[in-house]
Symmetry: C2
Subunit: 142 residues, 2 copies
DNA sequence: CCTTTTTACTTGCAAATCGAAAGTAATAAC
DNA sequence: GTTATTACTTTCGATTTGCAAGTAAAAAGG
């Protein structure tokens, strides 16, 4: 776990030292939604992350124990990224950000069903989602 | 409300387009903790934000309706920043980030009491905190 | 008043980071 | 055996960061 430069001992500040940028939490978002993703999958997301930025962020997230890179079954080129338990613990924060964004800046039809389910029973949603992400195998949603 | 460049319609992405950097949420954190802050107060926080960055972030947060600048009573030089209702709505996200940071990257003695109170009853804590921040007058904590 | 201090910024500039595009090396597919 | 995929790396101009110094206006002090 390579230490990033810590500006203070405040947990908010320390967190932002790791993922406080415009891309890192989008990687975590994709892993929350799909459970596993390849490098190429990330580049196909709507925000069109540049490949150099992606590589850099994946490295920081992996060094900080938030994501894990696994070998892709029967393929030596591809890799499979997934959330570590520490990464799964970011889901509540991500959901709160999504709720805020859905309420105040972006009402996307495509994720309204998702946010509605969250709003219906947040505790249950978090429990289910985090449990699924923590399960060892199981198929991805996509 | 000056529109920031939106990379996609995803609410997470749109949120990060506004506050996805290492400083913005620290400004929100200070306003959550102290309710009101002057420009100089922000510069005195532990992370030592540079004045040009601070000015730039305050402008973006104000343009996006997250913070409000008020005149300081009986003083034409000072200003008083506070969270708007939209800014107060960021508190749950901020708290989740703080909880994650406290658990996984930073166990600061100074804010342990704070985080312990959150953990004891999150719903109650959020309700109280957000209500205090929404109240029109009332003295600051500090 | 008149001077000094405080406050909230702005400016200048070097260094770091971002981001688009092209390049590469290894494996997979045909 | 040739072509295509995949996962990066490299290059380079543009933007952003962050430290330091500067500034203008109001407040405080004498």
């Amino acid at each position: 776990m390579k230490s990033v430069e810590k500006r203070s001992d405040c947990p908010v500040s320390s967190s932002l030292d790791i993922f406080g940028d415009r891309w890192s939490l989008l990687i975590v978002r994709d892993l929350m939604l799909y459970k596993t993703r390849t490098y190429g999958d990330f580049t196909k997301s709507a925000e069109k992350i540049a490949t150099n930025i992606l590589a850099s962020r994946l490295q920081v997230l992996e060094e900080n124990g938030i994501i894990i890179k696994l070998p892709y079954p029967d393929n030596k080129v591809k890799g499979l990224y997934k959330l570590s338990p520490k990464g799964v613990d970011l889901v509540p924060a991500l959901i709160e950000i999504a709720l805020w964004g859905g309420k105040h800046v972006s009402n996307d039809d495509q994720c309204s069903p998702f946010l509605n389910e969250v709003k219906k029973n947040k505790t249950k949603f978090l429990k289910n989602t985090m449990a699924k992400l923590s399960a060892e195998d199981e198929a991805t949603i996509d």
